[in-house]
């Protein structure tokens, strides 16, 4: 039977046996996984929705532009509300007892420490009354309500279980290739 195997069969068998000798199943699966979802293969097979949005690790700096409890904080360039870092939370986490809205407003801000633009998500934290501290209304890149696609005068807590607005976070989603469009 083996004598009747085609050249292709023999070639595939030889390759498979060689592969099996050189690496275990786990390392093989790990390599395949890296090709499919990892950095090397992401450009060819972008399985994850934001796989090609570059991972972000914004540079740190000092002063008001890098203080999450200040309106001047670079991530707050388009914020419209109370900064959660002043309300018992942080720039990326809601205060205890509140729920992050699943619906949000996404814009870009420039980090002066590295000169790069980043995608920022301004999720509202919901379930308590107004925080009342660090009210910031910078709204860069925002548009009036009649241009609703880029308006942010909306209570995003409409998507939460309790609609009362408490404060807003400014989460870095990734590095942006360009500032948000001004059209």
């Amino acid at each position: 039977m083996s004598a009747r195997r085609s050249r292709l069969d023999r070639w595939v068998e030889r390759g498979a046996r060689g592969l099996a000798r050189q690496m275990g199943r786990r390392s093989f699966l790990a390599r395949v996984g890296r090709v499919l979802v990892g950095t090397a293969g992401a450009a060819a097979l972008p399985l994850l929705p934001v796989a090609r949005v570059r991972a972000a690790s914004p540079a740190d700096g000092e002063g008001p532009l890098h203080d999450p409890q200040r309106c001047e904080y670079w991530r707050h360039c388009a914020i419209d509300g109370f900064a959660c870092a002043c309300c018992g939370g942080s720039a990326s986490a809601c205060p205890p007892g509140t729920e992050m809205s699943p619906v949000t407003w996404v814009g870009t801000c420039r980090n002066p420490a590295d000169g790069k633009h980043y995608l920022i998500s301004y999720n509202d934290c919901c379930g308590k009354g107004f925080c009342g501290r660090c009210e910031c209304n910078r709204n860069e890149g925002e548009r009036p309500d009649y241009h609703w696609v880029r308006a942010n005068d909306i209570n995003w807590c409409a998507g939460a279980h309790v609609q009362s607005y408490h404060c807003s976070v400014a989460i870095v989603l990734g590095e942006a290739t360009e500032p948000q469009p001004e059209r």
Partner: protein
């Protein structure tokens, strides 16, 4: 005819037209999705039940008469602050990524330009009028909002 294929294969097929150069921009299509779609539909495209619609399976609308035009005229698409070429690239990518569906032919910049110049004024009625197979549940959900 709409074809159901693995999303990875579809995205690989789309790669030439989804490349930044093809749309005249250096911005990856995924970045356009994050900035212009994800705020409502989520990074996973699942939306928020009862608040914002899911994009998963939205490609079924391509089978309904008028569905192709609907997808280019729905306000979130038509009014996105993107060029026609980038918007066409984004819509094709969304359909491949979240529905495993390649529109045939793919949306072109010219087609998107024509469709978005007539954005829907009554989205809910237009959506209810589309009787996409297997999509009845979503239609009822939309109509109840």
């Amino acid at each position: 005819m709409r074809r159901k294929l693995p999303a990875a294969l579809l995205l690989a097929l789309l790669a030439p037209s989804a490349s930044p150069a093809a749309a005249g921009t250096a911005v990856p299509v995924e970045e356009d999705y994050v900035l212009h779609c994800s705020a409502c539909h989520g990074l996973d495209g699942a939306g928020t039940p009862g608040v914002t619609p899911s994009l998963v399976g939205v490609g079924a609308l391509l089978q309904a008469p008028g569905g192709r035009a609907y997808l280019g005229r729905v306000p979130g698409v038509a009014q996105a602050p993107l060029s026609d070429a980038r918007l066409a690239r984004l819509l094709n990518w969304v359909l491949a990524r979240y529905s495993g569906t390649l529109p045939v032919p793919a949306y072109s910049a010219a087609e998107i330009g024509a469709l978005r110049s007539h954005p829907l004024r009554d989205t809910r009625s237009a959506r209810a009028a589309l009787a996409a197979p297997g999509d009845a549940d979503e239609s009822r959900e939309d109509a109840s909002r």
